[in-house]
Subunit: 420 residues, 2 copies
């Protein structure tokens, strides 16, 4: 155990690539590899901490600049670390939300460093990260099954992948059954925006028939106009637990919200603290999907949770393709949030590779137990890290481009938001 | 140093009374003694933690119920402690805000226990409480001079007290000079609502003349109608840094805010998380005076700070008559809040007695250095605690009643809000 101040001596950033199935979404299809950056912070106390984040080239460049800026800081002084990151973070354009301001850019770059600092603090104190956030209020964190339309395999592959195709209601039902049987999920989320709305309504109704007691969510990733969204909301009244990002933008969501009987959720139109004031003023969203990767780490995600509680907004948790470090961070955070009103998202079952030692997480009844080991509760598998870094180097992918990849298969495919 | 989980074994609550000068306000005059409750938490690790709060009888009863409920809890599990306090906290009526809901009542009872738990955590880790809140972003915390109209002495006293009378602009100027000379304050706050508005406008203008470079605030504690408030705001345009609680209620403040050129501040109409949504919707206040005693401790006060930042609201810090434990908690908190946009309030110079060892705080340039000792950075003086508890027992006061005390001197004096 180590106590007293602990200073950062170096930061290592390792981009990795892991095999990703051909999951379909409103802007294309997942490429054969998903990219992540693994952050390791070393300290003068000999303790190290882990973080995980995006690995697109611009983000990697910002991470490297931040890594240089934070050397010498005390791992307990995360406000000072935030200030240093803010000084070098530039506004940037993101797919989901257009131009984001400096605060939002800072939150995205800061996040993995904060997580790593909390990992170190927890190890120093001998307590899980949850205890640095007020302690767990639940022993296990519920997750929802993440159902995707998908191809049988990536183009050019010799064999179908382990999950096979899911391109119609039957395929989705089969996928859901395997998810529920294998992991015990008690809620179901369908990634939509892939097929015309009527087909996805049909799939949701089929899910309702096959799983009459599972809350069901549909997320078309802003593929629809407000009019289409309102029409789908009417068709699925009484069926959906919530409808996630049916249409782009706060104004559009507010228009849909005035007509939809179910709550509207978002991880697209409210993805930074700057978006909260207009969204709340317009009552555009009733559920926010928190994500510590872009909400500035675990403490600022707790701030978001407190804002949701204060303004009567429901809270769920967003996932993108992640490895074990981020899952650990999500679980530690979710354990401490009293008003986590919905089961969290996770891509976990889609992932066939990882960089943490052993299998620290096992879904039971769709939930994960909160690790009680010090820090995040996961350890880096250096062999796996080296292998996935090698895969990053050799795979050739440097930025996520679901649309370009789709265009290789479907010539002329265009990104459209909304599409229907 | 101690690490790993630490469990609460017992809680001691000691009501104390300390000598308070005859400070005038909109509802009467400070009684000869101010009441506080000192909280001591003992743990299985041998570490103890300190908290300080109100000591009115109803609050003391709630504290005792909470103290029983939290024994056995881990000091790192403040969310669980909050949940236990919430289970026994009842909605209550307060002078400032009428009926407050269960959340607000919970926050008031929970606060000193959370502070004591953070004190213990800091001692266990060997770091100041600020480091548990993200670390200090400033080495010293600025405070404003707190100017009061006052009598020369309490009724029946043999001699005038150390400060003498302040019942007109000359008295206020003299008091301000002593405050600025003695402590270096760089901002001035006048507690108003005592005399008709014109007299207080005159005092503020005299302050502006005598201290041309000091930001000046006026706080009549909701003594005015919206019309009077708007008239005063016009008279003092360009003079006041902010106008604090000119009129009662969120609606009234919103009306004044539409006409006032300076920001409106509050520690009366927004004193709980439930008040934030309506106040923000109406743009009723531009500055919130945070106070960890009623905002649920230090972490929830950081939540309030984050909400202020998110919604573009300025942040200052409220004070009521407090002892050294609360001052330490205020300094530790204020040190870590990036968006502390105004110097904090403190009653400190009015206080002639304390229950902490030595003199841990010395104002230099109106600011206090952030203690770098583990925990809050203050230690209980057991002799002083015993003496002030004896004073509590003998003084006969059990609830604060500025109005009743004033009525003893000015027969027929009534509490009126607004008065002018």
């Amino acid at each position: 155990m180590t106590t007293g101040s602990i200073r950062i001596t170096s930061v290592t950033i390792t981009p990795v690539a892991f095999i990703d199935p051909p999951l379909l979404n409103s802007v294309g299809v997942h490429e054969p590899f998903a990219l992540r950056a693994i952050i390791e912070i070393a300290t003068d106390a000999g303790l190290t901490g882990l973080g995980e984040t995006y690995a697109d080239e611009k983000h990697l460049a910002a991470l490297h600049a931040a890594a240089t800026a934070i050397v010498g800081a005390d791992v307990y002084h995360t406000e000072e670390i935030y200030r240093r990151v803010r000084a070098i973070a530039a506004p940037e354009t993101t797919i989901a939300s257009g131009l984001i301001g400096q605060s939002a850019a800072t939150d995205r770059v800061f996040s993995p460093f904060e997580v790593a600092c909390l990992d170190i603090q927890g190890k120093a104190i001998g307590l899980p990260v949850a205890d640095l956030l007020g302690g767990a209020v639940r022993e296990e964190v519920p997750f929802s099954a993440y159902l995707f339309y998908k191809w049988a395999a990536h183009p050019g592959a010799q064999h179908t992948d382990d999950w096979g195709p899911a391109l119609d209601p039957d395929g989705i039902i089969a996928q859901a059954k395997r998810m529920v049987d294998g992991y015990g999920f008690t809620a179901l989320k369908l990634k939509g925006g892939v097929f015309p709305p009527d087909q996805e309504i049909e799939a949701v109704r089929a899910l309702r028939g096959a799983f009459p007691n599972h809350p069901i969510r549909l997320d078309p990733n802003a593929a629809w106009t407000p009019e289409t969204s309102i029409s789908v909301a009417r068709s699925l009244a009484g069926v959906l637990e919530y409808l996630e990002d049916p249409t782009p933008g706060i104004d559009g969501m507010a228009e849909v919200a005035r007509h939809a009987s179910m709550p509207l959720a978002t991880n697209m139109c409210v993805v930074a603290f700057d978006h909260l004031s207009p969204a709340i003023r317009e009552n555009a969203v009733q559920v926010i999907l928190s994500d510590h990767h872009y909400w500035g780490g675990l403490r600022r995600s707790k701030l978001l949770a407190g804002i949701c509680e204060t303004f009567g907004i429901g809270l769920s948790m967003h996932s993108n393709s992640h490895l074990g470090i981020s899952l650990a961070a999500m679980v530690q955070l979710a354990a401490t949030v009293p008003n986590l009103t919905y089961a969290c998202d996770t891509h976990w079952p889609w992932k066939t590779e990882d960089i943490v030692v052993g299998e620290p997480f096992t879904f039971v009844g769709g939930s994960l137990a909160v690790p009680d080991r010090p820090g995040l509760g996961v350890e880096l598998d250096r062999d796996a890290l080296a292998r996935l870094h090698e895969q990053y180097l050799s795979c050739g992918l440097r930025n996520r481009d679901d649309t370009g990849y789709m265009r290789q298969v479907v010539p002329g495919y265009e990104r459209m938001q909304p599409r229907w």
